[in-house]
């Protein structure tokens, strides 16, 4: 049955996240961006909300609630409304933990999930993105070659969120063990931070979301045991994993777009030129109405992708629609928002230039958050 109505529980969670985002994340956003560092304590503060552990099974110490991509999409929109960099940093362990939960063997769940159910923030990373131009997650350059009792991983990764502090990395690679039979698979491997052959690079210097710590990884014949392959011999449903991270990206972009819109509207009503508020001029008013239209459109595509995942159907198409549409419109919206502020949009006293950089950054990324 087609319905756009969140459950009562989802509304409660959404409202709580909205409040947290406005009161905690937004005031820290500029400081994090200027310092290119996470403010002290923010990760623990978000961790206390239990966003990662609530949907992990009780037997591993989690909250035991049903895995809900829809709820998570609602949460990510609200957190990104506060600040996308902080939202990603604070929820990134979910990418690792949800993947273990969704695709892992019982042994893998037992080994890794309890850590995410403890009181202290548990850093872990997804290593997906690679340095090549025209990056395509379905055509990875990083390879996994089967050898006796395990795999050898070789390749380079970029934009590995929290890589400076992660205990483990989930490395996505092209599994070439069956090379020649035409049945290569996209797989994920759990790699410890101190694995031989793994070099964790310095913090990357990025255009936007500068408060978000990211690093590069070099994998030089990193040997991992067979048990490191997520899902064991069955492997993973990589399409579903990527659909999840793409949907998460879309949700973040909806939140970012809303931040821009809700900042531009009062500004345009307050700023006067030629005897009236600039919002009273159709040239400006129509940019604002378009922002309203497009944040809606972005949100519905995101919800559809999340709902498709939640009903456990094939979500590749829904996720790619959401991902591409929110990427395109999120960028346009931030661009228009900056234009509405005119010169002030260019000044770092206002957050809009920060969101403009964040929109360009976020809209070319994937694998930074999960639903």
């Amino acid at each position: 049955m087609i319905s756009f109505g969140p459950t009562e529980e989802q509304e409660v969670v959404r409202d709580a996240m909205r409040e947290f985002s406005e009161q905690v994340l937004r005031p820290l956003a500029r400081e994090a961006d200027e310092a290119s560092a996470l403010p002290d304590g923010v990760l623990d503060q978000v961790w206390e909300l239990g966003l990662t552990n609530t949907q992990l099974p009780e037997e591993f110490g989690g909250g035991g609630e049903a895995r809900s991509p829809i709820t998570n999409a609602l949460i990510l929109e609200e957190l990104a409304f506060g600040d996308p960099a902080l939202a990603i940093a604070a929820t990134h362990p979910s990418v690792f933990a949800f993947a273990i939960n969704d695709f892992g063997t019982e042994d893998q769940k037992g080994a890794y999930l309890p850590r995410f159910c403890e009181e202290r923030f548990a850093a872990a990373s997804l290593a997906l993105i690679e340095p090549s131009p025209a990056f395509d997650p379905f055509a990875l350059q990083t390879t996994a070659e089967a050898k006796e009792d395990g795999f050898v991983l070789t390749g380079s990764k970029r934009f590995v969120v929290l890589g400076d502090r992660a205990e483990h990395f989930l490395v996505l690679a092209r599994n070439v063990q069956s090379a020649g039979t035409g049945t290569e698979s996209l797989d994920a491997f759990i790699v410890a931070k101190d694995a031989a052959g793994l070099t964790i690079g310095d913090l990357e210097l990025n255009l936007g979301m500068k408060g978000l710590p990211t690093v590069s990884l070099e994998l030089d014949k990193v040997e991992v045991p067979a048990e490191a392959r997520l899902g064991g011999e069955a492997g993973i449903d990589a399409g579903r994993l990527l659909a999840g991270t793409r949907t998460a990206n879309s949700a973040l972009l909806v939140g970012l777009a809303r931040a821009v819109r809700e900042y531009a509207i009062p500004y345009a009503k307050d700023r006067h030129a030629f005897g009236e508020a600039i919002a009273q001029k159709q040239a400006i008013a129509f940019m604002l109405s378009n922002m309203q239209i497009e944040t809606h459109a972005m949100r519905w595509l995101t919800w559809k992708a999340a709902a498709t995942l939640e009903s456990r159907e094939e979500a590749t198409k829904a996720a790619i629609f959401a991902h591409r549409y929110t990427a395109e419109q999120g960028m346009k919206l931030a661009d228009d928002g900056l234009q509405v502020l005119g010169g002030h949009g260019f000044i770092r006293e206002h957050p809009v230039e920060m969101w403009y950089r964040a929109a360009r950054t976020l809209s070319v990324l994937e694998g930074v958050a999960a639903v």
Partner: protein, 393 residues
């Protein structure tokens, strides 16, 4: 719960409507080229098709709600053709929506079975209905309204059994003086002047009406409220409520055709060997594939906006803003999608051997009637800025 899955009943209904629509599509070109003829009330094949209403009785509270499924049915119908239908639905005119929104219960019962057109636009007034010149004057002796004026672009105007018109009780009162009246065909003084000649939706029945001292019963004022509300008291807003369902519906008309254009373009591109799969990165795709998928996402976004506006209505929630959003988004999307599909197919797209060029012409009205895209943007902007008409003109 947020859900976009169709139930088995929903699916059954939509599959049925698409089957009918494909038959109707066979006649699409004929009635486009033979503008003076009207498509029949029922196609020759209709005896084999019981009509969608035969399936509606099986619906339960677990199925997609009434207005939302109505939007999906509409899209499935125009996916076949805008004007040609297996069965011309009775009670599906825009005036019926107006009757539903503004009529009293008694009026809805009395006229619900008629096919009603809706007449707002006049030669000198389109987007600004406060300029309505058609007058309604009460003759207290006979308890009749006397209507005088001209209405153009009246959809289903020739076939309708009656019309809901907007007329003013007092031109000096501006919008507040405008009321909706129901006028049945055959009423003396009501003349259907002619059918309009158009760019697209040519088979569609678009008429011009002339009212000359046309007398209708006093009880034909929809809603029954004869007094002129004070300016700004919201009386006009009641009249405008009609649009909360007709605007998303209008977008749905267009989106059915843009979907047809996308389906045709996909078929042709795939036959030509273009890889349209969803698992290749944007940068590695062909330009055609990237563009096509962009248009597909746009179609989906606009369809969801339509469903959202209808869903709010089914929940009994206000949907003024969302109705305008769905109309603005639908109107701009169908233009972009059909223009884009022709671009993707090149010269093949402009040939009258195929229906794509027809869909391109047919959808163009979507962003104009029931309030242009610009009017929708004005409404949206005023709403989000909390401005009135004097603050944002």
């Amino acid at each position: 719960m947020i859900d976009f899955n169709l139930t088995d009943n929903d699916q059954k209904i939509l599959d049925y409507v698409r089957t009918e629509a494909l038959v109707a599509r066979k006649y699409a070109r004929y009635y486009d080229e033979n503008e003076a003829e009207f498509p029949p009330e029922a196609l020759d094949e209709a005896k084999d098709y019981p009509g969608v209403w035969s399936l509606m009785g099986e619906r339960t509270a677990e199925d997609t709600s009434q207005s939302v499924i109505g939007m999906l049915i509409t899209m499935a119908e125009t996916w076949g053709d805008y004007s040609v239908r297996m069965h011309k639905g009775r009670g599906a005119g825009l005036g019926n929506a107006a009757l539903g929104a503004a009529g009293t219960e008694e009026q809805r019962t009395k006229w619900g079975g008629l096919l009603l057109s809706m007449a707002i636009t006049e030669p000198g007034c389109g987007s600004d209905p406060s300029l309505v010149q058609t007058t309604a004057v009460l003759d207290e002796e006979t308890d009749e309204w006397v209507i005088n004026g001209e209405k153009i672009f009246v959809t289903t105007g020739c076939r309708a059994d009656g019309v809901v018109i907007w007329a003013t009780l007092d031109r000096s009162a501006g919008r507040a003086g405008i009321k909706s009246f129901l006028v049945e065909k055959e009423t003396p003084g009501f003349q259907v002047s002619h059918k309009e000649k158009k760019l697209g939706i040519r088979a569609d029945d678009t008429a011009t009406y002339v009212f000359t001292d046309c007398r209708i019963p006093r009880g034909n004022l929809l809603g029954g409220k004869e007094e002129i509300p004070k300016a700004g008291s919201g009386g006009f807003r009641g009249v405008m409520k009609t649009f909360n369902i007709t605007r998303p519906m209008t977008a749905a008309f267009g989106l059915g055709m843009s979907k047809a254009a996308l389906d045709f373009a996909r078929e042709q591109l795939e036959q030509a060997g273009v890889d349209l799969s969803y698992t290749s990165g944007t940068q590695g795709q062909s330009a055609a594939a990237a563009k096509f998928q962009r248009l597909e996402a746009l179609q989906e976004a606009a369809e969801l906006a339509v469903c959202h506006a209808a869903w709010l209505s089914d929940q009994g929630q206000s949907n003024n803003l969302e109705a305008s959003i769905s109309k603005a988004k639908g109107g701009s999307s169908v233009r972009e999608i059909t223009q884009g599909c022709i671009e993707l197919l090149g010269p093949m797209g402009i040939s009258r051997e195929h229906l794509l060029e027809k869909w391109f012409r047919d959808v163009r009205i979507t962003d104009i009637y029931e309030g242009t895209g610009q009017i929708q943007n004005l409404i949206i902007a005023r709403t989000i800025l909390e401005y009135d008409r004097s603050q944002l003109k």
